[in-house]
């Protein structure tokens, strides 16, 4: 769906993306990275707003280097992070407007505006000006405008920003429905890692304009599967804690348990080590890698 070969994008002399080599498959792709990592530049490049300085890339089979990338935009939907809504116009009118701008004729755009707003959960309120909308409604209108023309690829920038837990859940359900019912691939950029974790099929982590990790969620988790939670019968003494260096690194997780990262991915090692130092180990739980850990480790050292 998306592929880059040695792609480099610059702002004047500043290199924003350097040496990107990757291929992304269809599905929901979580895009993560700290501020200034190049996420926005990547989205702008994929939308054809920025031309590559060096290298090549293609989106939905269209090369980014040529002018053909302009027509690609009718197959792309974009939901910005901020309130990009026209305040003095009703949701229905503005979603129809964006539909027309994407290439739908007027009748199609009007019909489709009703359909996508209903799909996004905006019922009768769609005839009201958006200036009176709540944050959740505004987010849903933004999603509706991004999918009004049934794009094949949708960029969602912080879709759950400012939403309460119920609103977040509904929005994430909609994101999944965009993939499942509309058949569109989604690139989801968010700082809420839990949201990315909940819906993404693949993950792309950027830092300083470089790809630090990409692949399916399960493959990235496997790379970091040497972590366990250990519970001992009695708290470890400082001397016993110091001896953990023999098998890995230890961290008290302040919950009566210890997080340990082993040098090797073998769950039998903690038992043997506990026996050797004379402590009673009552629980060993393979720890599910959290996304924040994947992100922090990926940024501190490349995974692939």
């Amino acid at each position: 769906m998306i592929s880059f070969h040695n792609l480099e994008v610059r702002y004047g002399a500043t290199v924003a993306l350097s040496g990107l080599n990757l291929s992304l498959e269809e599905g929901i792709i979580g895009l993560l990275g700290p501020n200034g990592s190049g996420k926005s530049t990547l989205i702008k490049t994929l939308m054809g707003l920025l031309k590559p300085y060096r290298g090549s890339g293609s989106v939905l089979g269209t090369p980014l280097e040529d002018d053909a990338s302009f027509s690609l935009r009718s197959s792309i939907g974009y939901m910005p992070e901020y309130d990009a809504l026209i305040e003095d116009v009703s949701a229905y009118e503005q979603v129809a407007f964006w539909g027309e701008l994407s290439g739908l004729n007027r009748e199609q755009a009007r019909d489709r505006s009703h359909e996508v707003l209903f799909f996004a959960g905006i019922d009768e309120a769609r005839y009201r000006n958006v200036s009176g909308y709540s944050t959740g409604m505004r987010q849903r209108v933004k999603l509706a405008q991004a999918i009004v023309h049934s794009p094949k690829l949708v960029f969602l920038d912080e879709p759950t920003n400012g939403l309460d837990p119920m609103g977040r859940r509904k929005m994430l359900e909609l994101v999944k429905k965009v993939r499942d019912e509309l058949g569109a691939s989604v690139i989801l950029a968010s700082h809420l890692l839990e949201d990315v974790d909940r819906v993404s099929d693949q993950l792309l982590i950027l830092d300083k304009g470089e790809v630090k990790a990409h692949g399916s969620m399960s493959s990235l988790r496997q790379v970091l599967s040497r972590c366990f939670e250990l519970r001992f019968l009695e708290p470890l003494t400082p001397e016993q804690e110091a001896r953990i260096a023999e098998i890995g690194t230890l961290r008290d997780n302040m919950n009566g348990m210890y997080d340990v990262e082993l040098k090797e991915a073998d769950a039998g090692i903690p038992f043997k080590w506990a026996e050797s130092i004379g402590v009673v180990l009552v629980q060993v739980t393979p720890r599910h890698d959290r996304l924040d850990e994947i992100l922090i480790r990926a940024i501190s050292r490349p995974l692939n």
Partner: protein
């Protein structure tokens, strides 16, 4: 009201049959027509136009009714003569309100998009910078032109109807004043578009335009006084718009000479359109 299923119907076919320029221009026009201030300007223009039409009719009566002979001598002294009157159809009183209107309406065209960050969303669709600016320019140039048009055509039609070709307004009025209206609209449209692109909100844009007009008029006045040459007033866009109708109607004695007016018009239009282009680049759309 139709009831829609909570799932999306099949993908519609996309066959672009309309220029995005027209789609965007129509959307902006609909928004502008909803603004309440349009009524205010509508009343003002109606009153100014009414005064001009009354002057034509009074002129007609004075010329045709012998009983008003004494009054005619008096009127000839206080009422303008044909060429001046023709140029005055686009005079400063009308242009003052027109500048105010374009500062308010055109000033918001790009700055409102900047305020609500609409532009990146526009460029995420198959819309080029040329399309975007063209749609804005269509409105920015079109509004002042459409407002000036009745001021040219209605007095001309009435003068033809009541007084024939010997009436107070020359029969050639449209030929002379429509080019003036086009030039005025170009000046107004380009300056307001450029200023609108510089501003971060419609209010800031209004400040930019009013500030620019006042500063340039003051500077033009000072330089005219210092160098004792009225041509320096060409720095002021207001003076330029007042000049074109006088120049084209042949009332050059009261206007800035043709050459400085033409040069200053060219500089203003090129400079402000260049600014608008630089400030709306797709690559600089903040997302």
């Amino acid at each position: 009201m139709p009831i829609y299923a909570p799932t999306l119907p099949p993908r519609p076919s996309i066959k672009p049959d309309k220029s995005p320029i027209l789609v965007m221009a129509r959307f902006d026009i609909v928004r502008i027509f909803r603004l309440k201030m349009g009524r205010f300007f509508g009343y003002v223009y109606f009153c100014v136009l009414l005064v001009k039409l009354v002057i034509i009719y009074v002129n007609y009566l004075l010329n045709t009714n012998p009983q008003l002979g004494q009054l005619k001598n008096f009127a000839d002294q206080v009422m303008p003569q044909p060429a001046i009157f023709q140029a005055s159809l686009l005079d400063s009183s009308m242009l003052f309100f027109l500048w105010l209107q374009v500062a308010l309406v055109n000033g918001a065209l790009i700055s409102r998009d900047t305020l609500y960050r609409i532009r990146p969303l526009v460029y995420s669709h198959p819309v080029s910078q040329k399309d975007y600016l063209s749609s804005k320019a269509l409105i920015a140039f079109g509004i002042p032109f459409c407002v000036q048009l009745p001021f040219i055509l209605l007095p001309w039609l009435i003068s033809i109807l009541v007084a024939g070709s010997s009436g107070p307004v020359w029969v050639t009025a449209p030929l002379l004043l429509i080019p003036a209206a086009i030039l005025n609209s170009t000046i107004m449209g380009s300056i307001t578009l450029g200023a609108s692109s510089l501003a971060g909100s419609p209010k800031a844009s209004l400040g930019w335009i009013i500030g620019l007009l006042l500063m340039s008029s003051a500077l033009g006045g000072i330089l005219s006084g210092v160098f004792e040459n009225f041509a320096w007033m060409a720095i002021s866009p207001i003076a330029l718009t007042e000049s074109w109708s006088k120049i084209l109607c042949g009332v050059e004695k009261t206007a800035i000479p043709f050459l400085p007016t033409a040069i200053a018009t060219g500089i203003h239009v090129c400079l402000w359109l260049y600014i608008a282009k630089r400030r709306t680049l797709p690559s600089e759309a903040v997302i």
